[in-house]
């Protein structure tokens, strides 16, 4: 049903997850987080800018409304100035807002991003978060884990769905609040 919603889209795309499947995955991820982090009193969530923020917001709302966990701390981390491809990529790197109103010292930090691909963003995030203190532990949660595409030894602790995609393909995650629908597409160029 979603594949045809963008009929004028020049590239072919197929649905990896529809709205229901995303909802199930989000609930499962929320439960897995509760299993490990209990009441979140020693835990902070950090959404990686720009696309991880939607997923992080969604999980926070879910944990607060469905699972009645209060006072979850959520921050946004921008990694632009920590990336290792400065001056190497064709287009200039544009920064987003970092908003972390708490100290991560001695906290369990959960990085949240939509797609884990090469692992380079997460490596940059590991460096960037050090500016805010020394966390006790850092975990990684991603909605989509692209297998066999890592450039670095980085793996998620919580994953929504594992996907095999070849290099020319792109995984596109859409959110209701931004793109008007909840869906994950595999886009072939």
């Amino acid at each position: 049903m979603f594949a045809e919603s963008n009929s004028d889209f020049p590239m072919s795309q197929k649905v990896l997850l529809n709205a229901t499947e995303i909802n199930i995955a989000l609930n499962r991820l929320a439960c897995q987080l509760i299993e490990k982090h209990d009441d979140f009193s020693k835990t902070v969530l950090i959404g990686i800018q720009p696309r991880g923020v939607f997923l992080a917001e969604r999980l926070k709302t879910l944990l607060e409304t469905e699972y009645k966990i209060k006072n979850i701390q959520l921050g946004y981390l921008d990694i632009t100035f920590f990336r290792d491809d400065f001056r190497r990529s064709g287009k200039p790197l544009e920064a987003n807002k970092t908003k972390i109103n708490f100290i991560v010292e001695d906290k369990n930090v959960v990085f949240i991003d939509d797609v884990l691909f090469t692992g380079r963003s997460i490596r940059s995030a590991l460096t960037a978060v050090q500016s805010f203190g020394r966390p006790l532990e850092i975990e990684l949660l991603t909605l989509i884990d692209r297998r066999f595409s890592r450039h670095l030894p980085i793996q998620p602790d919580y994953r929504g769905r594992q996907v095999d995609a070849i290099n020319g393909e792109k995984v596109k995650v859409c959110w209701k609040e931004n793109e008007g629908e909840d869906a994950v597409y595999l886009v072939k160029s």
């Binding site: 100035f81 400065f86 001056r87 805010f132």
Partner: protein, 311 residues
């Protein structure tokens, strides 16, 4: 988005979009320099030479801090302690430094146009940190950035620049920046210190300080540059301060709260009294903090245009 230029030689040569991009980037760096750890690794493979052929304290410190917060390697050069005193030319000096694989040059020079000249002859990105009485672009950018921060926007605001306009590169760069951003600009000072061509820049001249202050939202009080004055432009510092100095009594007697700025260093008691400089309406120390963020933004944006493989 990227800058339309490869060098920052003056505000005259950049566009409004460039200025907005610098401001937006500076917003991010302002957040960075307020973190517990104030450093990012972006420029770790860039080397920057700070060439100061003229004295400077805060501009040099501000640039050096900005470079270090971006993790660039920094080399410093001051003409007083160098071979320039032995008669070496500017191009020779700079080419010698560039042979050490420098990517970017921040230069202050007493001659107007020194940066432009250099950019035509050497293969490095040039940032003008003040060239004689011509331009001082990063100072003007941080001034407008501070106005934007304090008043929300620069467009439509009324700004008066008070003091020694004739010898001031800060005044000229400020006029260009403010006009590009849509602000209205007046200058105010003794007639001897107002350049004759100023009206060609669409800038009105006001010789009465009170009238100028009643008109404006922001007053930028420039320093009296004694070191550049070859003749007497006004009788005494006391007389200057009586006519063009800003004191607390005058500030309080205005029917509105204006913002007071000063690019530093302050001659306390000449262009501005101590109680005004330290008052709530003064954003002088905010300007200094913003200076680091603005310079980080300029360096970052210019460095991102240096292609990696051309090293």
């Amino acid at each position: 988005m990227e800058l339309s230029v490869n060098h920052l030689l003056g505000i005259k040569y950049i566009t409004e979009a460039d200025i907005q991009l610098i401001f937006e980037t500076a917003d991010h760096f302002k957040e960075v320099i307020n973190r517990p750890i104030k450093k990012v690794p972006s420029l770790r493979d860039i080397t920057i030479a700070n060439l100061f052929f003229e004295n400077s304290t805060r501009t040099k410190l501000s640039f050096e801090l900005a470079e270090k917060r971006l993790s660039a390697d920094v080399i410093n050069f001051a003409s007083s302690s160098s071979s320039v005193a032995k008669g070496e030319t500017l191009i020779d000096t700079v080419n010698n430094i560039l042979s050490m694989k420098v990517d970017m040059v921040v230069m202050r020079h007493p001659n107007p146009g020194a940066g432009i000249f250099l950019s035509k002859h050497v293969n490095a990105s040039i940032i003008n940190a003040g060239d004689g009485a011509h331009e001082h672009p990063t100072q003007a950018l941080l001034d407008s950035y501070s106005i934007r921060e304090k008043l929300g926007d620069v467009a439509g605001k009324k700004v008066v620049i008070v003091g020694d306009i004739l010898h001031s590169r800060v005044a000229l760069s400020n006029i260009f920046t403010l006009q590009k951003l849509g602000a209205k600009v007046k200058v105010c000072g003794p007639k001897t210190l107002i350049p004759k061509y100023i009206e060609k820049l669409n800038v009105e001249v006001e010789t009465n300080l009170r009238k100028a202050l009643e008109w404006c939202d922001v007053a930028n009080m420039l320093r009296v540059q004694n070191e550049r004055m070859d003749i007497s432009y006004f009788p005494t510092a006391r007389e200057y301060s009586q006519q063009f100095g800003l004191n607390k009594a005058m500030l309080d007697s205005l029917n509105k709260e204006i913002v007071v700025m000063h690019p530093g260093p302050i001659n306390r008691g000449v262009e501005i009294t101590s109680d005004v400089a330290d008052s709530k309406q003064s954003i002088i120390l905010g300007q200094v903090e913003n200076g680091v963020a603005i310079r980080m933004a300029v360096i970052y944006l210019l460095a991102s245009k240096i292609k990696h493989n051309e090293d």
